[in-house]
Each structure stands twice: as structure tokens, then as C-alpha cells.
Symmetry: C2
Subunit: 244 residues, 2 copies
Amino acid sequence: MSLIKKTNPRVISIKDFSSCSYCSVRRLCLPVSVDKEEIDIIDEFVEDRPHLKKSEYLFHAGDKFRSLYAIKSGAVKTFGSTRDGREQITGFHFAGELIGLDAIGNNMHNCNAVALEKTVICTMPYQNIEGISTQIPSIQHEITRLMSKEIRNDEEMLMAMGSMRAEQRVACFLFNLHRRLSTNSSDALSIRLPMTREEIGNYLGLSLETVSRRMSSLQEDGIINVENRLITLRDIEALQHLCN
Amino acid sequence: MSLIKKTNPRVISIKDFSSCSYCSVRRLCLPVSVDKEEIDIIDEFVEDRPHLKKSEYLFHAGDKFRSLYAIKSGAVKTFGSTRDGREQITGFHFAGELIGLDAIGNNMHNCNAVALEKTVICTMPYQNIEGISTQIPSIQHEITRLMSKEIRNDEEMLMAMGSMRAEQRVACFLFNLHRRLSTNSSDALSIRLPMTREEIGNYLGLSLETVSRRMSSLQEDGIINVENRLITLRDIEALQHLCN
DNA sequence: CGTATTTTTGAGCGATATCAACGGAAGTGG
DNA sequence: CCACTTCCGTTGATATCGCTCAAAAATACG
């Protein structure tokens, strides 16, 4: 491939810009601990990169598990449905994050995944991943690491839900977003929320009104600025302190 | 090993009764999808089987991650500490269940694990597991499956915490125990709780008084019987219905 | 048998949910 | 680009669930 690149850079550059090598979130994604040549192998097993519009489903609960999905850009929510029809959001996911790991266990997706905004997805068929793992052992290790991290995240969230009051939950939620959206090069001091207050409340176990009220009080305390969906962090120390 | 067994059965039988082959929870544990000869290999990498008394630690948060632990008998709680010193329980674990999976990611235990009663543990050094995975590929797959299952569990719990009222949470908690403690051969209609009301409340995000009250009301409704720590399920249908 | 721990039950209070109304933003179709 | 509609966010008033405090009963433990 790199050979072709030299001889015909114009055509190839189109593929390149969607490839892992040129992906802006590569350092957060599966090929994190993989060297240059190996990325091409990973690239090959990325099946396609569908563009989702807002509210489009990536997968439904009950779907057969075929692939893991990496978010190239945009944002996704995952949620289950209670029998009485209401949805319960279990996570928000951003660029560089992998979803579908919870489906490996029983070969079936256990939640729904919906784009919160225009989103680009890298589809990675799990069979290919398992095959590739023999060639690149670090991939298996990386998957294990990511799963372990997800368990940790969920359990952190459980701890929060068990012991925190509304204001703490909201603060914790925002601080968590801050951490996840910050990169080596930039601190995410302004966050444009891709989800509604209702979705935040659903996720945090609060009513949408309480989310709104607690955001207002965090603003009054000079910790954040709220301007519709644009949240500006004014005192990160204080925010972090609320999270313990 | 099976050779020695024939020549000197008396000595070996002692080892056997603690070995995986003879373990009563084998079908729930790591060697679930492994055939006879392979079990001996697994047996070999089980380092030791410490007996924990009530309140003894299996590991502390911050400990270097060395091993996964399977519970042979007894019960364990895992919990983290908030900065203000209180503990937040993230899970209860019973015979046949594996703990420590969340530590693989950052090579460090992220929570504490304490025996709730007399408990026997199988210590499985992770290095050995990784090594053995090349010999028994199904082991790696099994670990992945178990991690995925834990993610699913945690997310189910998150859904519960986000949307359920106190009575539902308690009902859900009991039904979950029922499922986990039931085996092919027996339905766990009577459950002897190894944890206090306070620990249940901590786990469910409720006060110990509320746990007690909601158990009483479930009893009044004829759904369960409460006799100190012995819970008898009288109407499992109704219990399950509350969980939704 | 006595002490400590755990559990139950009651009373009052506080945090958060629910209900309601309004204003603003965003999307839609002309 | 504007008018219309729908969705979203804020704020206020009231209701309710679950917490805290308190005390006593039941159980476990040495």
C-alpha cells in the first residue's frame, strides 16, 4: 500500500484520510499500542465506516453480535428498555471509544446504540479481530484492557449512583466528560453537550428539572458557565473536589 | 499426576478434593468449557487456596494485580472508598464467581475484597493464565466472556439504580441472588444472606432502615418471608415482575 | 450470661420528583 | 428569509419518598 502511495498519492489519500493511520483519534482507539505496519493490518479488517445521522441506530438490543464499533467522530448513547417501555441510558460514548464489548459474552447485543449527532463509526468484525489477534498479540491484550477499563468505569459509576447527591452527580458527570474529551494537546474547558437534560437525568437517576436546577446552582457558585448546551468549566479544581 | 494417583491414591486424594476436577462449582468457574485432561493443567496453575475468615481481606485497592480469584465457597464483597472515608460496595460475589477482572486494565486492584463469611479462594496467577491461554485457547475466550458478562451485570445494575424505587431495588436484589444461587439441580428458594442490611443498603443506594422496611413490606405482600437473614421466596413470579 | 451488633419500627424532615407554565432554540415548509 | 411547530430548558409550587435521628427488640458472640 505504501508503495502505491508513492506512485499515485492523489487517489490513495482519499483512503488514507479514513484509514487508522490518519485517524485523529488513533491514540485513543484500538491500535493504540500497535506499530506502523500493523496498523495497515487493522485497517484491513475495518469493514466499513458508516455515517450515522442524529437518532439513527447503530445496533438494537437483541441483534446478533458481529462487530465491535469504534467511534471515529460524533457521539453515541447506549440504553436498555424497561418492560414498561421507558429507556434507561447506560452510557454516553465519544470519539475514540469502543462499543459493543458487553455483547461478546452471549453473542448478542444487550443494549441499543443510537447516534446523538452526526457520527462516523469504524466497524470491526469480531471474527477478524479474533483472527488478527494471533498475528498481533497486543490486540487481544488491548481488548482485554479495554474491557477491564469498562468494568472499572461502570463500577465507578455505580459507586457514584449509590452515594452521591444530585449536585455531586451532575458535577461528576461534567468532570468525567472533561477528562474524556481532553487530549494531550487540548484541555476540554468548553463542552458542547450532545445530549438533552432529560438524557443526562435519565443516565444519572435524576429528573430533567433537577439536572437543570443543579447546573444553575453550579453556575451561581462560579464553578461552571451554562449557555444552553455549551458548558464552560470555570473552576475545575472545585468541580473535581465535588467528585471526590 | 494421574499416574501417581493410581500408585498412591491415599495421598493424592487429599489434593484431589481441593482440585478443580472435584470442585463442586466447576461448572460455574473458569474450567467450564474445558475437557478432562485440560483441567489438570488448570489445576496446576491454581497457586493456592487460602481460607479466609469473616472480615479478612483478599486484596486491597492499590495492590499490584497478580492473580484472578475464584470463589470456591463462601461469599465476598468488593468495595471502594470515597475520599471522606466511607465505603461503597460495588458487588457481592458467591461460589463459582471470578473476581479481579477489573484489575487487568491498569495492573492494579481498584477495589477492596473482603470475605463476608468463611470463604475458600482459588488463586490463579494471571501470568500463568496468559501462558496457559496459548495451550488452551478456550481459556482466553472464557475470560473474555466472563469480563463481558461482568460489564453486562454492572450495566444492568446501573439501569436499576437509575430508575428503580426502593422496593423495586430490594426485590431486584433478592431475585438476582436467587438466580445466581440457583443451580441446575436446585432452586434457591431459601437464601441465607451473608451480608448485613447496612451492606445491602450501601450497595443499593438506600439506608439500612429503608432496606429493612421494604423487606417488611415485601413480606406483608406475601412475596417473601423474612426470618432474620434467612429469606424465603414465596412468590417468585411477583418478585420477578417487580424487577422489570 | 452479659455485651455488642444487628434489626425493626416510629416520627419528623429534607432532597428530589412531579406538575405546571413560560420562554427560547431549533427544525420545517413555504 | 419568515412563520409555524415542536422540542428543549428554566423556574416555581407542591407532594412524596427515603433519610436521619431515636429507641427498643432480637440476635450473635465471647
